[in-house]
Subunit: 382 residues, 2 copies
Amino acid sequence: MKVGIVGIGHGKFGRRDDATVQELAFEPFKEALDDSGLSKEDIGATVIGSSPEYHKQRSLPGVVAEYLGMNPQMTYLTEAACASSSAALHNAVAYIKAGIYDIMAVVGAQKMTELTTPEILALMGRVGDVQWESVFGTTFPGYYAMYARRHMHDFGTTEEQMAKVAVKNHAHGLHNPNAMFQKEITLEKALGSRPVASPLKLYDCCGNADGAACVIVAEESKAKSISDTPIWLKGMGAASASMSVLRRKELNSIPSAVEASKQAYEQAKVEPKDLHLAEVHDCFTIAEIIAYEDIGLAKKGEGSKLIDEGQTYRDGKMPVNVDGGLKAKGHPVGATGASMTVEAVKQLRGEAGKRQVDGAELVLTHNVGGIGQYCFVNIYSR
Amino acid sequence: MKVGIVGIGHGKFGRRDDATVQELAFEPFKEALDDSGLSKEDIGATVIGSSPEYHKQRSLPGVVAEYLGMNPQMTYLTEAACASSSAALHNAVAYIKAGIYDIMAVVGAQKMTELTTPEILALMGRVGDVQWESVFGTTFPGYYAMYARRHMHDFGTTEEQMAKVAVKNHAHGLHNPNAMFQKEITLEKALGSRPVASPLKLYDCCGNADGAACVIVAEESKAKSISDTPIWLKGMGAASASMSVLRRKELNSIPSAVEASKQAYEQAKVEPKDLHLAEVHDCFTIAEIIAYEDIGLAKKGEGSKLIDEGQTYRDGKMPVNVDGGLKAKGHPVGATGASMTVEAVKQLRGEAGKRQVDGAELVLTHNVGGIGQYCFVNIYSR
């Protein structure tokens, strides 16, 4: 039995002092209901993807389900760091394939700006191994700086190539009204921005944001009756890798991403060259270059070529992150996976406006949790 | 297709300064593997049930999966407050019924004693609605004190009846080597203990504990080949209720528990009178009396009769919480649901030693999250 996406919603990402986390969740939920033509009574259960510690409010599904009017239906939260709502989507597909529910809503929601930047950095460091690594001051940019240094050392990747990823994603984000940063940047500006964790500079890093996105999924026959253009989950992969970098064999690749994409390609019976678009997890610019290699768009060590040659621009050979990616869109961690799925669906429906990739028939999303301890990869088609 | 439990493990609950959260998780995981005769290579994926905010370590599945040696298999966390590992078990059943994995491990793990009691109380208050209720100082005992007052007002339930629940569960806990408190208490001691949130006194409250429990589930044919005595999940119910008490119609019952148990009975095609044992969520003594009514062991308002008449003792007509319940066993919130399931399985296998309920063939577990915003009810049989 296939599972189809029949409704999508996406709120504005950025600093959202105007909304509590449940209010953030409501916006895309309502939009997704309207998009699908369903009413909330049709939804069997709701899964919330979020990274809890950023919120004053604990146990989000309680307040969110109440605010969405979804009691007494089942609800709970999934957490897989920055891949939390991809885990939620995988859960919903499992419940539907199991025949337990026919229609489910997945809501990725995150409010991060209740905290100060130092507080956020401290919390992010604690997503790394607290016993053996955080004690030495590893923060999130610090972890990805290690990836960058290693990739530079092993393959000659340059700071300029990384900056080019930022320039591309900002150019794409210009056309995404939900993006946190809707402005182009120059290579000079990116390269000249202040260091965060060398070699990563400010413009190598995505922005911490508030935001939410929602995806409504349904079993095959229901999906066909609800929507004229259901989008099918053709392949799904999920894998893990060690949390401690000290237990990683190499730092120029994310092993969970390699494994999850392998699973997704096998299930979908397609190859990287069949894709028309990929939305990948560019929490830092180096992460996008590594993603090119991990999901098979480029050979290992050759990811930087794709950006050098402009292949991953919207009008290039293999568009990547045409919605601006985490870089320009902002990264409300729990919402990012659902946000990627929303863009995949828009593209496959041909509803992406100025961002539309011509002839998009096969789209991949690649959502990494933490420093790669989780990865969820999905392949979607009409 | 049926889903069977083929392996169980349960660590010591209590103050566990000797172990990190991943070490706590390892103990029952190893025990469950040994119990099942499986090796970790047989496990398709691991779901961690936990309430994250109590830990210095964020994103537990990352460190736990690494420590259990479960990379590169999928892992993620489920959170539904005190019902987090019941949500994880429901997830695992869905994945197996969907045919995505054949065998999965559910690990409930929680370390709460890294924090001080005031810190824990503050965190617990934030499981209630932060916007409208926590600001008025509602803590967890405060919420349940409201339930107690309302039940006393509506039905004449007394403080003595509540204390009798504590006396019973401590008597049961005496025979559970994994319990935090293995000692009997008297009615006088319970009634004379210091007030926590009137009318609840110290002995009306369960103890904050560290702890972990593990359940390995498998699809029907695998379960039969792995185990001579697989225990079947015969009925499963899951529901939610408003988080804010201000939106509850009544406070003498937990609506999600009523709904979830109705679903479980219907699916299992049994009635409350068919049960031989129930493990219910006695985070406070009043919660056990309300549970009697919510799951249909007593009519509404008549729950206190069961404890007055001693019916819910191990040798009574309808044994409840023969492992000591949350009250004597301790309540490491994320581990409690899995712990209940472990006891159900032990009883159905006839392996519960001095706690064994004669002729136990049908067991129910009732795991409430928070103040009832979630409830998961399962019915198990041989």
